[in-house]
Each structure stands twice: as structure tokens, then as C-alpha cells.
């Protein structure tokens, strides 16, 4: 059983905030084969497309038939821990601070043996569930979990290096005026967040949700409008050093492509609330979060962007909005690289059309805001990087992988 996490003590202001360190990030391109599975949270093994043999670690040629046609394919992560050890000394600065560190050899039912990080509840001889996790460097690593849920399993210190659990952490939800923002605030509170800062723009406009939000445990309503640089900077000045997780829920969804709209006014609003809003947040909150990547149990750990799946491929019915989302996706990739030195993960949550007012005329299936919130909490708890919420988002993902030109014609 894992020692349960206790609410973090207040910081001792006489002690230096430790600088975030990262485990080694050097990987060959071939070794990147498993990064996608780790980012999306599924198990895969390098598989020969000719003879079907699975192997590990990823290789350039099939060890059985020497074919060069190898790809990561979904596989079963079940196995047994054949041996375990604890590393008690290391010259690696990251691991030196985290000694002792347990690793073991897992013999997968699928065949290969894998040297993996071990959860505290996993011992030699145990059945285990192997997962690919992203470490603080953003690289895929093998992690052996207990076969079945154990008490306080998520609180295991080694596992917490891979996950971004909101428990006891302080989270900013940038726009809580929307149904999505409210669902997010409520889900975070339920997931044990220490404080949920719920952003409300334009306080002079009535906010019917305000009262309901204040009744949720741990919620503090804060003024922030991602379209207003001053307001973003002012809030960062107040709470920037306390934001462990930032969830950008700001949205400005309007139908229409390029030609049917008159002028660029609405497109500009979409960019202000989307792309430029992300830049404002990144400049105001990013540097402090990156600095606080190893700041105790409630260190800064994650930045979540809720994006339309049509950031990936344009949906002409919402063509200009899709374009603004594509800009955000590209910016999010830059942010991912910029935050990585602090060990802060950028998660992109891709959703299909939401069950909200601006998608009124869009037929189902649509995604409930609570579904997006649930998927976000799940991504934080499992330490994912790319999340596809709902049938439409998953359909777009698979069709893009299969034939990007086909989906471009079909949307």
C-alpha cells in the first residue's frame, strides 16, 4: 500500500525553490516509436509488419525476419515482474535527488522483456500491467503498475513523476463563464484540487454561474479576460506563483468560413480569445510555472489547452474557427517545447462539437462539457499529452491517420 499524500505544507520562505531537473531525454528516432502511445495512453509494441513478430526495445530491423517495416502496434501490457532492484546511488542529477529508485525486469505475456520503473506496490514475482508513460523530459518510459488498483496507488512518488494529478494542486481555469469552464471547475474540485481559481471576464456582465461556482469546495473566483493583456498580467501578478495547473477553457466559437463572413472582425475575435489569448497566458504564467517544476508535492506540472479537433483538419462549416484552433495547436506545440525544461507537460484535449449554444444546429454526436472535464482529469491523473474526446474527435483522428486527403474532401 502506498503512503497517502498529505496536503503540502506552506513553503518555508527561507529555503530556495529547487530548480527542476529532467531525466535524460536522448532518444534515437527509432526509439520515438512508442512516444505516441505514451502520449495518448495506450500500450503498443514495435511490431514487424511483414512477419508480425513483436520486440523491444524498438529496432530498425525485425530481429526475426530482418524486415525494416516496423511500426508500433497496439499490444497487451500484461506481464510478470521477473526481478527488481533499487538504485541507491547515481551520477545523474535528476535521479540523485530521488534515490532510492526502483526498477525491475518485466516479462510481457506478448514475449519481450522490458526494464521498467516499478510502482511501490509491485514486487518481484507479481503480475503487472505495463504502461508507457511520459517522464518529466516528455519521453516515453516503461512503468510497471499493480495488476489491480491498490490503496492510494496514485500517490506513489515514482508514479507521480509521470502523472500530473490535480490532488492538492492549485488550478487556474481561465474561463469559468461557459458550461465547459463550470464543468471543469466542478470536476477539479471533486478530483481533490487544493484551490480552483475560476476565471470570470467582464465582471460588469451578469454571471448566473457565479453563485453556483462559489458553492463548490475550494473555488476562488478571479478576474481574467484572455483578450485583455492587462487583465492576464494582473492576475499572474497576484496568483502566478500558485498556479500548478493551468487549464485554458477560453473559447469563441462562431460558424462560417472565409467568404460568407463580411470583414475580419469575427476572425480577429477568434484569434484574440484563442491564439493571442494563449500567447498572453504563456507570457504571463509560463515562466513562473517553468521555474516551479520541482516545487514540492504541489509543483507546477501541467498546462491544458481545450481545442476543437478541427485544429487538426479544417471543418469548413466552422472554417475560420478551425483556422484559429489550428493556430492554437501550433502555438501549443511551441509552448510544449518551451515548458519542457521545467518538466511542465502541455496537454491538448481535442473535442468534437460540444453540446453548447454555438453548435446548436450541429447534429449529434456532440460532447457534453462534463465529458471534456472528465477526460481532462483522466489525462492529468494518467499523465497523457494528447486526448481525443468523443466519437467525432476519435473519428477525425483515425481518418486523418488513414487518409488525410479523404477527410479533407469529406468534411
Amino acid at each position: 500500500m502506498t503512503e497517502p499524500l498529505t496536503p503540502p505544507k506552506r513553503k518555508n520562505p527561507l529555503e530556495r525553490t529547487r530548480a527542476p531537473l529532467l531525466p535524460s531525454a536522448i532518444r534515437s528516432r527509432t526509439a520515438q516509436m512508442l512516444t505516441l502511445a505514451a502520449a495518448e495512453g495506450w500500450f503498443a509494441l514495435p511490431t514487424c509488419l511483414d512477419c508480425g513478430a513483436v520486440h523491444y526495445p524498438p529496432r530498425d530491423a525485425c530481429p526475426k525476419c530482418l524486415s525494416a517495416r516496423i511500426a508500433a502496434q497496439a499490444a497487451d501490457g500484461g506481464g510478470r515482474v521477473a526481478a527488481e532492484t533499487a538504485i541507491r546511488t547515481s551520477t545523474d542529477p535528476y535521479f540523485r535527488e530521488r534515490m532510492p529508485w526502483r526498477i525491475g525486469t518485466v516479462v510481457l505475456d506478448a514475449g519481450p522483456s522490458v526494464i521498467a520503473h516499478l510502482h511501490g506496490d509491485v514486487r518481484a514475482g507479481d503480475r503487472t500491467r505495463l504502461e508507457w508513460k511520459l517522464d518529466k523530459s516528455g519521453q516515453a518510459v516503461a512503468f510497471a503498475l499493480p495488476q489491480t488498483e491498490t490503496a492510494n496507488m496514485a500517490d506513489d512518488p515514482q508514479l507521480r513523476e509521470m502523472t500530473l494529478d490535480p490532488k492538492f494542486r492549485r488550478v487556474l481555469v481561465t474561463d469559468a463563464r461557459t458550461a465547459l469552464g463550470q464543468a471543469m471547475v466542478s470536476a477539479l474540485s471533486k478530483a481533490g484540487a487544493g484551490i480552483v481559481f475560476a476565471g470570470l471576464a467582464e465582471p460588469w456582465k451578469p454571471a448566473p454561474a457565479r453563485e453556483a461556482l462559489t458553492r463548490i469546495r475550494g473555488v476562488e473566483i478571479v478576474p481574467i479576460d484572455v483578450t485583455d493583456t492587462d487583465s492576464v498580467n494582473e492576475l499572474a501578478g497576484e496568483i502566478g506563483a500558485k498556479v500548478d495547473i493551468l487549464i485554458n477553457t477560453a473559447e469563441h466559437v462562431r460558424p462560417g468560413g472565409l467568404m460568407e463572413r463580411k470583414g475580419v472582425g469575427v476572425a480577429r475575435e477568434e484569434l484574440e480569445a484563442g491564439y493571442l489569448g494563449l500567447i498572453r497566458l504563456a507570457q504571463a504564467f509560463g515562466p513562473t510555472m517553468r521555474f516551479r517544476g520541482a516545487d514540492g508535492a504541489n509543483s507546477a506540472c501541467a498546462w491544458v489547452n481545450v481545442l476543437s479537433v478541427f485544429a487538426q483538419v479544417n471543418w469548413p462549416q466552422f472554417g475560420a474557427h478551425s483556422a484559429s484552433q489550428a493556430a492554437m495547436l501550433s502555438a501549443a506545440q511551441s509552448l510544449r517545447a518551451e515548458l519542457r525544461p521545467g518538466g511542465v507537460r502541455v496537454i491538448n484535449v481535442f473535442t468534437g462539437p460540444l453540446e453548447t449554444e454555438w453548435y446548436q444546429a450541429v447534429p449529434p454526436p456532440k460532447v457534453a462539457p462534463s465529458q471534456v472535464a472528465g477526460a481532462t482529469i483522466d489525462a492529468l491523473q494518467r499523465g497523457l499529452e494528447d486526448v481525443w474526446v468523443g466519437d467525432i474527435a476519435q473519428d477525425v483522428r483515425s481518418r486523418l491517420a488513414a487518409n488525410p486527403k479523404a477527410i479533407e474532401r469529406e468534411l
Binding site: 467582464e202 465582471p203 460588469w204 456582465k205 451578469p206 479576460d225 483578450t227 485583455d228 493583456t229 492587462d230 487583465s231 472582425g265 469575427v266 475575435e269
Partner: protein, 281 residues
């Protein structure tokens, strides 16, 4: 540098000789003429007009640094601002409304310089607006005012004082489920001012020249419809109207010279003569 112009510049003595401007300058310097700023500060926090979200929106005021004594410009500080023609304290030209679209010289750049300084009549509706946010200025109120202060002269601004500018932002916009609840003029009042008194324009402290619920009046938005249809002007989001006398103030209201513009944010000043006895109440 020595002037090589053949005609010497006029001396202050010449100006005195040419009219009352020097006397005015003296009064200004002595504080006998006070300048009252009728302008709200441009800030992202100031409410803007709210329309149904599927319609085009009034761009709120935003400010972005170009540089601030930093690597973007080591010795200087400056900003880029964005806002609509109708954000903050602003001026409405006749072309702003469909009723004024075909009038000559209806755009903000064509607003004659000669009219950019004009006298103002201030009608105090503060008590009535405090009691009823949907208060409408009616002809009867105007006639009562005229009985005390004289008939409103042609070519002046009529400013409706409600003390609305003193409210916090939420109470200022005063939005409810059925829209904004803010005071303004009735159709009959605007008709009287435009058709019988030939005013230059109408000014308010609220977000628009019309009441918050004016879309339910006949005609809808009577101030916009009637003022601009007759080639008159609007001023809105004014402040400090409580510091103006009922009559006698001069309003200085030069909008930005925006080509074909429908209106403009502007600094509005009022010149108020302060009598030794303590000024007008």
C-alpha cells in the same frame, strides 16, 4: 532661430485688439473659467454596448505595449490601442444610423470645425434616474426646465445628467435578462429638441444616447433615429455633468478625423464660468 518671415507674428497685444480671446485667456489663467473634463478614462474595464452575440460587437478598449524602455525601444514607452469608434466617451455622426445614411456631410470627418465648440444646456434628471433606471426624459421635463432656465437655444448641445457615470461598472451597464436598464430620452422629447429647438446634438452619461430599453419604443432607438435622421450628433459615456451649470457651459468636442467614420472616441471638455459668488448651482 531668427524668423525670416516678412510678416511679423502677431503679438498678444494684437490678439487683444482683435477680440475677446485674450480676455478669455486671462479668465482661464485666473481660474474664472474652469475646464471640466467630461471624459471617461479609456480602459478595458469600462463597459461597452452589448448586442446579441450573433451580431457584430463593439470592440472593447485594449492596450498593448510597443516598447517600455526595454529591448523593444530602450528610451521610450508607447502603446498600440484598439477600440471601436463607439467605445468609451464617444461621438456619433449622422451616418452612424440608417436614417442619416444619405445626408450630406454625415461622416465624422465632415463634422464642421465651427460646431466643435458649442454651448450646452444641462437637464438634471439625476433624482428621477436614481429612482427609476428606465426613466425617460419627456417633453414635460424639458418644458419645466425651460420655465426656469429659458428656451433651449438653437445649435446647442442638450446634455441629460443622470449621474450614471458615478455608478460602478455592473450598475452602469445594468444588464438584466431582458437587456440593459438605463435612462434616456422619449421619442417625443427628442422630436421636440430636434424639430422645435433645432439642437446641435444630445449627450448622455450612459452607454448610448438612447435608453437601455429603447428598442421597445416607437420608433425604436428614438434618439439615434431622430437625431441622426435630422443630421444631428450624439455624445455618450459623458462624465462630470453634475459639475456643469444648467446653462452657460461651452462644450469642446472635436472627434478624431476618421475618413468616412461613423463616430469617434474623443476627449470632451466643458468651459464653465465661475462667478465670484460661487458659480452656478
Amino acid at each position: 532661430m531668427t524668423s525670416r518671415r516678412t510678416k511679423a507674428a502677431k503679438t498678444p497685444a494684437d490678439a487683444t485688439a482683435s477680440g475677446g480671446l485674450a480676455a478669455f485667456a486671462t479668465a482661464l489663467a485666473a481660474g474664472a473659467v474652469e475646464i471640466v473634463d467630461l471624459t471617461q478614462t479609456l480602459s478595458p474595464d469600462f463597459p461597452t454596448l452589448v448586442l446579441p452575440p450573433e451580431l457584430g460587437q463593439c470592440t472593447p478598449f485594449r492596450i498593448e505595449e510597443i516598447s517600455r524602455y526595454d529591448e523593444r525601444g530602450p528610451a521610450w514607452y508607447w502603446n498600440t490601442i484598439t477600440l471601436s469608434e463607439h467605445t468609451g466617451t464617444h461621438f456619433d455622426a449622422p451616418v452612424h444610423w440608417i436614417t442619416g445614411r444619405d445626408l450630406p456631410n454625415n461622416t465624422v470627418d465632415a463634422f464642421p470645425a465651427q460646431k466643435q465648440i458649442a454651448p450646452a444646456c444641462v437637464i438634471d434628471c439625476a433624482a428621477a434616474a436614481a429612482a427609476d433606471p428606465d426613466f425617460l426624459l419627456e417633453p414635460a421635463h424639458i418644458e419645466t426646465w425651460e420655465a426656469r432656465h429659458g428656451t433651449i437655444p438653437a445649435g446647442c448641445w442638450v446634455l441629460m445628467r443622470t449621474d450614471w457615470s458615478k455608478r460602478d461598472a455592473g450598475a452602469y451597464a445594468n444588464l438584466r435578462e431582458d437587456g440593459a436598464h438605463t435612462p434616456g430620452p422619449s421619442p417625443a422629447a427628442i422630436r421636440l429638441l430636434v424639430e422645435k429647438r433645432a439642437i446641435l446634438g444630445f449627450g448622455t452619461e450612459t452607454i448610448g444616447t438612447d435608453a437601455g430599453q429603447a428598442h421597445h419604443l416607437d420608433p425604436p432607438y428614438p434618439a439615434h433615429t431622430i437625431l441622426h435622421g435630422a443630421g444631428r450628433y450624439g455624445l455618450q459615456c459623458l462624465a462630470n455633468l453634475d459639475r456643469l451649470p444648467a446653462t452657460g457651459a461651452l462644450v469642446v468636442a472635436p472627434p478624431l478625423k476618421i475618413r468616412h467614420g461613423s463616430g469617434s472616441p474623443l476627449r470632451v471638455l466643458a468651459l464653465v464660468e465661475r462667478k465670484a459668488t460661487g458659480g452656478a448651482a
